[in-house]
Amino acid sequence: MADNSKTKVVVGMSGGVDSSVTALLLKEQGYDVVGIFMKNWDDTDDNGVCTATEDYKDVAKVADKIGIPYYSVNFEKEYWDRVFEYFLDEYKRGRTPNPDVMCNKEIKFKAFLDYAMALGADYVATGHYARVSRDNNGVTHMLRGVDNNKDQTYFLSQLSQEQLAKTMFPLGDMEKPEVRELAEKAGLATANKKDSTGICFIGEKNFKEFLGHYLPAQPGKMLTVDGEEKGTHNGLMYYTIGQRQGLGIGGGGKTNDPWFVIGKDLATNTLIVGQGFHHPLLYSTHLKASGIHFTTNEAKPTTFKCTAKFRYRQKDTGVTVYLDETDPTKATVVFDEPVRAITPGQAVVFYDGEECLGGGAIDAAFDGETERQYV
C-alpha cells in the first residue's frame, strides 16, 4: 500500500454513517486524518436542545473509535449569508431553490475547504456518493457514484476544477448497504443512524411552518386554466410545479383525476391547478438556464449533446445544449422528448456517460415558443 501518512485529509463529519465511514476508510488507508464537524445552523430550542449538539456527540464517538483528532467549526454566518439568503430570495421569486447545491458550492467546498487548507490539509473528503478521477493532463473529472440510487453528483454539479482537485469521495465506489456494513463491523456508533432527510436546517420540522417563520405567506386564488376558482392557496412559496399533495381539492371536474400544481402567476399571486399527472401544461420541450458552469475548465463547443437531470434522482434525459453565443453562462437546453415538471430554481445537470459535466439553474421552461407559466 502506498504511504499515505504524509497526506493530511480533513474529513467533513456530519455525525451520519456516510461521513463516519469516509473517515474510517481513509484512516485504514493510512492517511493523516482529521475530522471536522461543521455547525452551519443554530436550531437550539427553548429547552436548549440542539440537533447539532447530538450530531457532534456522534462525531466525537466515531472519531474516538477510529482514533483521529476531531474538532467543530462554526459556519453559521457563512451559511446564512451565502445559502439561506439565497434560499429565501428564490422563494420570494416564486422559485423552488436547491440549498444543497449552494451549500456544497459555498460552504462544504469553499468555507470548509479553505478552513481545511489553513489547517494544513492536502485534501478534504466528504461522504458524498460521487467519484473523482484525475487524468494524465492533471484534470479532475467528477463521476457518478457507483450506487446509482445514491449518486449525489446532482448536488455537486457546481464544483469547480480547483475545488475538485482538492477533494476525495471515498464512498464513490461503494453501495450504501456496504457502507452500513463497514460501519457495523467497525462498531461505529452511527452504523444504524437514520439517514438525514430533506434540507439540513429544516430537518424534521414542518416545512410550511419553518418557511412561514421567515417569509410572510400571502394566500391567494387557486384557479384552473379556464379561470375556474378551486379555492385558496396558502402562499405560492409552499407549492412546487407538479406537486399533488396539499391542494385540498379532490377529484371532480371533467375527469375526476387528482389535481396538480401546473403553474404559478407571481404577478397576480395565483396558483394554477389542473387535473391528471400527465396534464399537458406540465410538459416542456426545452428550458433556459443561467449560472452554467462546467466542472472541468475545458472549453465546450457552443452546441453539444449529452444527457441531463432536472431534479435529484431523476432518470437522465437526452438533451442538446445551446450555449448563449455572447454569454456562455446562459444556455438553452432542448430535450429529446418532452419532460414533466421542469421547476425553476432547481438545477439542470449535464452528464456524459458517467461523468458529471456541470450544470446551471433552471430559469424558465418552454413548450415550443410558449413559456410555461411557472413563476
Partner: protein, 393 residues
C-alpha cells in the same frame, strides 16, 4: 480490523501541555500518595479500627489544608467534589439562609460559570444580582464594590485570580470593606491556589473555594472554607459526614492527595514558579516580536498571576490556531466549548472589550504549571509565531 488507538493516544500525551488553567497533571508525589492510600479503604464514620485509620487520614488532610490557607482550628474546611460544588454551596446556601435579611448579591461579570450560572439561577428565584464590569485591562476596584453595596446585600462573590487572564482582584481590600458590612464575602480561589500564599484571616473572607486538580492533585475533590461561627445549611441531605454539611462517604484518597498536592507548594516554590512563568512570558513575547507578529497581552500584566498569558494575536483566528497547534503537539485553549463543540467567545474578553470586538475571535490562553520548562516553552513560542504568520488574514 485493528485500529492503533492505544498507540495514538500515548502519542498525544507527549504534546507540550500549556493548558494548566483547565487542569493540571498529577504531581508524581501525589500519584504515589494516591496509590499509598488506596488500600486504606475504611469508612471514616465506622466505629472500628478501619474506620479510625481512615478518619485519621482524613483529619490529617484537613489540618494540612487548613494550615495551607491559614485557617484556625475553629474554622470549617468542608471537603466537596470540586470548585463547582464549592462555589454553588457558598452562594446557594448563603442565599437560602439569608433571604430574610436581604436578596441582593454582588459578583463580577468575569467569574467562572460555576459562580455566574448560580447567580443567574438565583435571579430566577427572586434575588437581585449586581454583576460588576471590569476595565479594559480586566481589573476591578474596591470602589466599585463599595458603590454597589446596599444594606440588603447578603453576599459578595469575587474571584481571587481570573482563570482566563490571570488578573487578580483586590480581595484583601474588599475583605477590609466588608468587615463593616453584614454581607458575607466569598472568593473563588481556584486559580490562585497554586501560586498565592493564601491567608483567609488577612483576606477577611467568609468563604473560599478551591479544587485539587488545578494544583496537580486529582479531579473530584475540592474544598470550601467556611469561617468560624457561620452556619450554612447543607446543599445535599444525608448522613452525618463533614459536620452534616456535606453528606456522603468521604473520599479519603482524594482528600489525602489534595493535601499532598498542597504540601508541594511552600512559599519558596511559589516564588520559584512565578519567576519561571514570568520568564516564559518573556520568551513568548520576544519570539512573537522578533517574528513581527502583531499581538497584545489581554489583561493587566502588573496585577496578574503569571501562570496565565492571554494573547490577542491580531488577525489570527483563534479556533484555527488552537487546532493547528494541537495537531503540531502544543496544547493551549481559547474560550469554552459550547453547543456542538463550537467555541463560545470568552465572556471575560467580552467583558473587557465589548461585544463583537475582533479580539474575541483572536485571543488565546496559554497557562503554565508544574512540569513546564524553558525548552518546551521556547519550542512552543516558535511554533506559535510560525503558525500566526501563516494564518494571518
Amino acid at each position: 480490523m485493528v485500529l492503533q488507538n492505544e498507540l495514538e493516544r500515548s502519542d498525544l500525551m507527549t504534546a507540550i501541555y500549556l493548558d494548566n488553567g483547565a487542569t493540571t497533571p498529577l504531581h508524581p508525589k501525589v500519584k504515589e500518595a494516591i496509590i499509598d492510600t488506596l488500600d486504606n479503604f475504611g469508612n471514616p464514620s465506622s466505629i472500628h479500627s478501619y474506620g479510625r485509620t481512615a478518619y485519621h487520614v482524613m483529619e490529617e488532610a484537613r489540618l494540612t489544608l487548613k494550615t495551607y490557607i491559614h485557617a484556625t482550628a475553629k474554622d470549617q474546611l468542608i471537603f466537596v467534589s470540586g470548585g463547582t460544588e464549592s462555589d454553588n454551596t457558598a452562594i446557594m446556601q448563603t442565599a437560602m439562609s439569608r433571604k430574610e435579611v436581604g436578596k441582593h448579591l454582588i459578583t463580577t461579570q468575569v467569574e467562572h460559570p460555576a459562580v455566574l450560572e448560580t447567580m443567574r439561577f438565583l435571579e430566577t428565584q427572586g434575588f437581585e444580582v449586581t454583576y460588576l464590569p471590569v476595565s479594559q485591562t480586566g481589573e476591578i476596584t474596591v470602589e466599585q464594590v463599595k458603590q454597589a453595596l446596599r444594606p440588603d446585600t447578603i453576599l459578595v462573590s469575587m474571584m481571587y485570580t481570573n482563570n482566563e487572564t490571570g488578573v487578580m482582584f483586590p480581595i484583601k481590600e474588599v475583605g477590609e470593606l466588608l468587615a463593616d458590612h453584614p454581607a458575607y464575602f466569598h472568593t473563588d480561589a481556584v486559580q490562585a491556589f497554586s501560586l498565592e500564599s493564601i491567608n483567609v484571616k488577612e483576606l477577611k473572607v467568609d468563604f473560599l473555594s478551591a479544587t485539587a486538580h488545578k494544583i496537580n492533585g486529582p479531579k473530584g475533590i475540592g474544598l470550601l472554607y467556611v469561617k468560624e461561627g457561620i452556619s450554612l445549611p447543607t446543599l445535599l441531605h444525608g448522613g452525618e459526614q463533614e459536620g452534616k454539611k456535606r453528606p456522603g462517604t468521604e473520599d479519603i484518597t482524594g482528600m489525602h492527595a489534595f493535601a499532598v498536592a498542597a504540601s508541594q507548594l511552600d512559599d519558596e516554590e511559589k516564588l520559584r514558579r512565578k519567576e519561571l512563568f514570568k520568564e516564559f512570558h518573556h520568551i513568548i513575547k520576544q519570539t512573537l516580536t522578533e517574528a513581527q507578529v502583531d499581538f497584545s497581552v489581554n489583561g493587566s500584566e502588573e496585577h496578574a498571576s503569571p501562570h496565565v498569558l492571554n494573547l490577542w494575536l491580531k488577525g489570527v483566528p483563534n479556533n484555527l490556531m488552537l487546532m493547528r497547534l494541537d495537531l503540531e503537539g502544543f496544547v493551549i485553549s481559547t474560550g469554552s466549548a459550547c453547543s456542538a463543540g463550537n467555541i463560545d467567545p470568552s465572556h471575560v474578553i467580552e467583558a473587557m472589550y465589548g461585544k463583537n470586538h475582533p479580539s474575541l475571535d483572536e485571543s488565546i490562553r496559554i497557562s503554565f504549571g508544574y512540569g513546564n520548562n524553558t525548552e518546551d516553552v521556547t519550542k512552543f513560542a516558535k511554533a506559535l509565531a510560525s503558525v500566526a504568520t501563516q494564518l494571518k488574514k
